[in-house]
């Protein structure tokens, strides 16, 4: 029995009729849908236990604090972090990357280099440009080899004594490429660089184990992994987090404050100023419980099968170009494609008429689009509820599409 058979009934939104058709939601890489367990956990929290965390000396405050910190423990186990202090709640992947880039940026000196890759999302490019700006620091980028993988020889050439940071995606949000994070991070560490991994497209789809990834920082969003919007996670190796100066101040992140100075709180609260997203943490905890029950190995296997099916059926349709590596072990749950003679936005709009939701455009990866000499692509992406039938409906609609405009 495929995974979607077990899960579909748990996602109320999948009952929606869109433009007269059953919703075929193939845009989970942009944001996944939510199981009833997540929606109800958040409603239950607001209905029974809401108060501010950490400083409220009353029953509700204690309950809210216990739930918020229990969510941290759940994340710690989910990603194989060595301790709960290494788990910082953020607003999402973009927020986590900005936090690290901002803090690391302050330690950089003229002549230093930041190494990224040509397949990064804008959120793993622009924060580094900001960190480099006005400091005499250069951002360099690892080009792609054929089939949408990183050019590892170029990586070796680009990595040098001036490289202070390596920042890369675990899984490309366009090509679906699963990058060999651990060996790259080992090499970067040997060269003296801090390593930062954008896990936005990996955490929802692959089993994660921070003790084996070899990176210093890893960041991801809740809303792509069945949880609510507005919360994400920054994991940092303890020594790496301790070496970072907080760049955002406020309540909660301090131990003591005087008019002219302050003393920082312990990890992880040092990086969590202000009232955190409490209900969202409760929702994320429910999402992780849901994923754990399914088992991430099974999730990965289900989505790998869907990606393989999609690549195969789309490649068989005349006029369709599929981007990224061939279906296999190093390909994640996204398939980007273009239809000859049609603009990606028109492809998405025409598919939407049949109730099929795909993403279209540059996917916040304009440097990557330029590498391929295109302005954008359409993209189908999957989650635990995606089915083989969804892919069939997509391919039938696409086969008929070119005559429609």
């Amino acid at each position: 029995m495929t995974l979607d058979v077990t899960t579909r009934a748990d996602f109320p939104i999948l009952d929606r009729i869109v433009n007269g058709h059953r919703l075929v939601y193939l845009d989970s890489a942009a944001s996944s849908q939510k199981p009833r367990a997540v929606i109800e956990a958040m409603a239950q929290y607001y209905a029974t236990s809401h108060a501010n965390v950490h400083r409220s000396i009353h029953t509700l405050g204690e309950e809210a604090t216990a739930l918020y910190e229990a969510a941290r423990d759940r994340v710690q186990r989910f990603i194989g972090a060595a301790s709960r202090e290494e788990v910082v709640f953020t607003r999402g992947t973009t927020d986590g990357l900005n936090l690290v880039a901002d803090a690391l940026g302050r330690t950089l000196r003229p002549g230093d280099e930041i190494l990224i890759t040509d397949m990064e999302h804008h959120s793993n490019i622009v924060p580094w440009q900001m960190a480099a700006r006005d400091r005499g620091v250069t951002v360099r980028s690892i080009p792609l080899a054929p089939e949408g993988r990183l050019d590892l020889e170029a990586f070796e050439r680009l990595l040098g004594p001036r490289t202070r940071v390596l920042a890369l995606a675990h899984v490309s949000n366009v090509l679906g490429t699963i990058n060999p994070v651990a060996p790259l991070c080992v090499r970067a560490r040997q060269a003296g660089a801090v390593t930062v991994v954008d896990g936005a497209q990996a955490a929802p789809h692959l089993p994660l184990d921070m003790s084996r990834l070899e990176c210093d920082f890893y960041t991801f969003s809740s809303h792509k992994m069945l949880g609510p919007t507005g919360i994400g996670v920054l994991w940092g190796r303890r020594q790496a987090l301790e070496a970072l100066e907080p760049t955002r101040g406020g309540g909660e992140m301090i131990k003591e404050v005087w008019i002219d100075r302050a003393r920082w709180n312990d990890l992880p609260w040092r990086f969590e100023p202000g009232t955190p997203p409490i209900a969202e943490a409760v929702g994320l905890m429910a999402a992780i419980e849901y994923l754990d029950k399914l088992g991430m190995e099974r999730v990965a296997e289900h989505e790998r099968a869907l990606a393989r099916q999609t690549v195969e059926v789309l490649q068989a349709i005349p006029g369709i170009t599929v981007y990224g590596p061939p279906a296999g072990v190093d390909r994640g749950a996204v398939v980007a494609f273009s239809v000859e003679g049609l603009h990606p936005h028109d492809v998405a709009a025409l598919l939407d008429q049949g109730g099929i939701a795909v993403r279209a455009g540059h996917h916040c990866a304009q440097p990557l689009m330029r590498t391929y000499g295109i302005t954008g692509t359409a993209r189908a992406s999957f989650s635990v509820y995606s089915s083989s039938e969804d892919v069939s409906l997509l391919s039938h609609a696409l086969a008929a599409l070119r005559t429609q405009l």
């Binding site: 603009h343 936005h345 028109d346 025409l350 008429q353 304009q366 302005t375 954008g376 429609q404 405009l405």
Partner: protein
Amino acid sequence: MTPAARTGLYSPTIRERWRQPRFRGELPGVTAQAEDVNPLCGDRVRMMVRLRDGAVDAVRFTGDSCAICTASADVTAELSEGRLAADAARLTTEDVLAVLQADIRPTRMRCVALPVSVLHKALAP
């Protein structure tokens, strides 16, 4: 009839202008031009204008854009040719929509608006 035709997102005018735009191409003797992108999708449109005696003598556009944006650029060019430059500079998205006769949703309104705003930029003093 296709589903899109039934709902009118891609009106006959948009289809026709997308398949065979009348004003796409380079413009010899161009006197004013501008280019811009739609940050949402990366679409790029360049509007080229040839002015003569304060009037818009000819307009052409180039770029890489969706059917709606291409059709809008084509209609924008057509509506501005032959007008006084000052009048062409007052052309609005609504003027273009009136010709397109399509049910444009809010998410695609910027596809219609881009060529109009690029024309304004080209004609700005």
